[in-house]
Amino acid sequence: MAQTQSGAERLLSLPALLHRNATQFGTAPAYREKEFGIWQSWSWAETEKEIEALALGLINLGVNEGDFIAIIGRNRPYLYWSMVAAQAVGAIPVPLYQDAVAEEMAYVLGHCGARFVIAGDQEQVDKVIEVQDQLHQFEHLIYLDPRGMRKYEHAHLHQYSHVQDQGRAAHDELIGELKRRQAKLDYDSTCVMLYTSGTTGKPKGVVLSNRNVIESARNASGFDHLRQNEDILSYLPMAWVGDFIFSVGQAYWCGFCVNCPESADTMMTDLREIGPTYFFAPPRVFETQLTNVMIRMEDAGRLKRSMFHHYLAHAKKVGGRILDGKPVGLWDRIKYAIGNALVYGPLKDTLGLGRVRVGYTAGEAIGPEIFEFYRSLGINLKQLYGQTEATVFITVQPDGEVRADTVGVPAPDVEIRIDESGEIFYRSPGTFVEYYKNPESTASTKDAEGWVATGDAGFFEESSGHLRIIDRAKDVGKLSTGAMFAPKYVENKLKFYPDILEAVLFGNGRDHCVAFINIDLTAVGNWAERNNIAYASYQELAGHPKVLASIQSHVEAVNRSVAEDEMLSGCQVHRFVVLHKELDADDGEMTRTRKVRRRIVEEKYADIITALYDGSASVSTRTEVTYEDGRKGYISATLEIRDAAVVPVAPHQVAAE
């Protein structure tokens, strides 16, 4: 099917794949985007024309081979075309996070020396203009949505459609040059450069070749039997490697359709309208969906509510087993089928997951209950483990072998070894080329034989052969008692409670552990509304005694569960504090992919940590915050510190490890 090659043509680059798709599936939809309330669609043949016009326009503007073209904006077909057009003219596309503040953008644009920027709208254009004086190589800015920019100085500013028009007008003069440049592309040409958010230090530019992207896409598509008629919804940041692989790599390899939502706020409606067959989401999306369903069920009538709970209980019992193809009794199957007609089917349809054949969650650990909930409905949700440097895939869960606590078996063509310290290393066709302009980091991450250190500690479970991840290798430490300290393990257990958004555990080198907790405003806010608790701000809600009491009960439950694990029983939370503000990427406390930057949090809130350890009952603190537009301000708060009951751990158990 998709894997057949047409004639002597070799599929060694994105433009080559594009041409194959335009030839073989010319009339099939390649892109859809909802605009003006209607799904607009482009076939593969039309897409090739659009990309060609843009590529010619870029040559016309003076793009040289080897130039970097930064791409900033929300997921739109035009920006995906920009990435392919950039490659077609021999330039290197660099997608950036659209929510990055101007300063972060300045660093990345300066580091890769982008001569061209393609931006989605005025907001992004303004950010680039704000920092352009710091950028020496920057020359031209192309924008998509002209709104609000009529009065801007247009000497170096170009509207996307005009660039395309100029490209079409200069077709005869420039097509030869475009063909010549395209012919030079091979497996070793750079396909894309993606900046990793990096939980420490400055972002690094990961260079991925066509080999990395195309082979990884091919392997993963084969693994999940993806076909040409899949539909995906592209709503995750374009700068993230996952989106690049799903929405570009796999879409071009298989020739399936990429659907772009109307706006970030309409994602859920658009998801339902499209009904993707292949779906990818971080755990957060699944959590939010589940929370919404549960809240809405609370408001439903009694009959509906009892039906919902009755059949969900049944699904919990047998749904996962049916999905895994395990033996299930006839009566249970019949009951499941009735439940499917009455509850699961309509529910999946409401969630927009009715047609999903393969769904993935990755990026963070997903709560076992949430994971099981979706699987019990018959949604084939799986986990994978990967990173930018591996072009996503390191391990994947095969159909029928899906569990909440492992990340699966090595993906096709991926070799994995685990060194003495427990750190995971891999080698694969997807292994990145290098960190751009950073040979030291490249050398310390990738050795001469191509093995890449993941920085994660884990082990293969002997019974199943699946990989289990413990934590970031550098975060795993020891308490002063000698017990193992693996913060992520405890944090994830805490985060599985819907009202806890984020948790940070401290304790490395100390004799016991303490924790920071962020409440989830949606879940806790809803709870407050139901219980007639008035609050004026996040800060006030976070400090409410009833909220603290409920968080305390969660912490204590987690302590009991942690105590059962001999290796990690020392990680129980002795004292905790509910923070007065959400940890935020704008304040540098998190990465743009929402991973906590442990060291920065530790430094920034040193006063609170001190108070957690010195036994004081409360702490007053003043914290700098950055608003979305880059301005800074301060918030002050007095936080109550709570003690949590811990399960005593017999010292010999610790010594046994």
Partner: protein, 272 residues
């Protein structure tokens, strides 16, 4: 009298054309109460014109005179070079004047989309019968109007609430839906009655952006009433200041700001 040809260019490069609307010696009485006393001013093509003044100064009455809801007791309203006779409100709407209200006047039970569609009503010509059957002309007409409405929805970034009943929306969004409905009529002259009242800083900033964008993108002439002086001074090209039904100032924001009468009206002055 109407110097249509005359116009000027603002500091930020916008072209302001000739006079589109002129109020000549307007007086408005309700029984013995005089709401507006002998006021004259004009509105030019493409400009943002503000009417400000303390509470009870007669601003909303003035806007109602412009929109044709009130017929002035004395004086004349000239629109596009013609003296306007007393008209029904819908006739005035057909002339290309649309407005929003100080207290939101939306259909609470209807969706945002339907509310905005009502802004197109004056443009729909098919009869009740063909509308009910929704065949031929009625269908084509609705599709054409829906396209315009969708452009407005996109412009004001309210796609996510397209199908939401208005009653469920927060105040700031309702204000935006009202603006959308007014814009759907593709007015030549847009009247905004306190578009930022009761909004928080962020909502105000958004609304300012939208008003400027409307003016910039469609070249719509805008007359607005507003209490927030910061907003008025930033947005408008020229300001009329009213106090006790009288005009006490008229001109560009900087000029008005330094007008002693205006300062008195706003800060208060010791009367004997």
């Amino acid at each position: 009298m109407l110097d249509q040809a005359e116009g000027y260019i603002t500091d930020d490069g916008r072209k302001i054309g000739g006079v589109v609307m002129e109020m000549k010696n307007i007086t408005l009485r309700f029984g013995g109460v005089v709401a507006i006393k002998d006021i004259s001013f004009d509105i030019r093509e493409g400009e943002i014109r503000a009417i400000i003044g303390p509470n009870g100064a007669g601003k909303s009455s003035m806007l109602n005179v412009i929109s044709g809801f009130y017929v002035p007791s004395e004086g004349e309203v000239w629109f596009r070079g013609e003296k306007r006779p007393p008209m029904r409100p819908y006739e005035i709407a057909r002339q290309g004047i649309a407005r929003t209200f100080q207290n939101i006047a939306l259909f609470e039970g209807m969706s945002v989309l339907d509310n905005v569609m009502t802004g197109r009503l004056t443009q729909m010509k098919s009869g009740l019968f063909s509308q009910a059957l929704w065949k031929g002309k009625a269908e084509a007409e609705e599709i054409a109007n829906r396209e315009i409405v969708e452009q407005v929805i996109d412009f004001l970034e309210i796609q996510h609430i397209r199908k939401t009943p208005v009653a469920r929306l927060p105040y700031g969004l309702k204000k935006r839906v009202e603006l959308a409905r007014a814009l759907a009529a593709q007015p030549k002259l847009l009247l905004l009655d306190e578009p930022m009242a009761g909004m928080n800083v962020e909502e105000k900033e958004d609304m300012c952006r939208f008003i400027l964008d409307v003016n910039d993108e469609f070249g719509t002439t805008i007359a607005l009433i507003e209490h927030d002086m910061g907003v008025v001074m930033d947005l408008s090209d020229r300001v009329v200041v009213m106090d006790y039904g009288k005009k006490i100032g008229d001109g560009p924001p900087d000029e008005v700001r330094n007008n002693p009468d205006v300062i008195d009206a706003y800060l208060g002055v010791a009367h004997d």
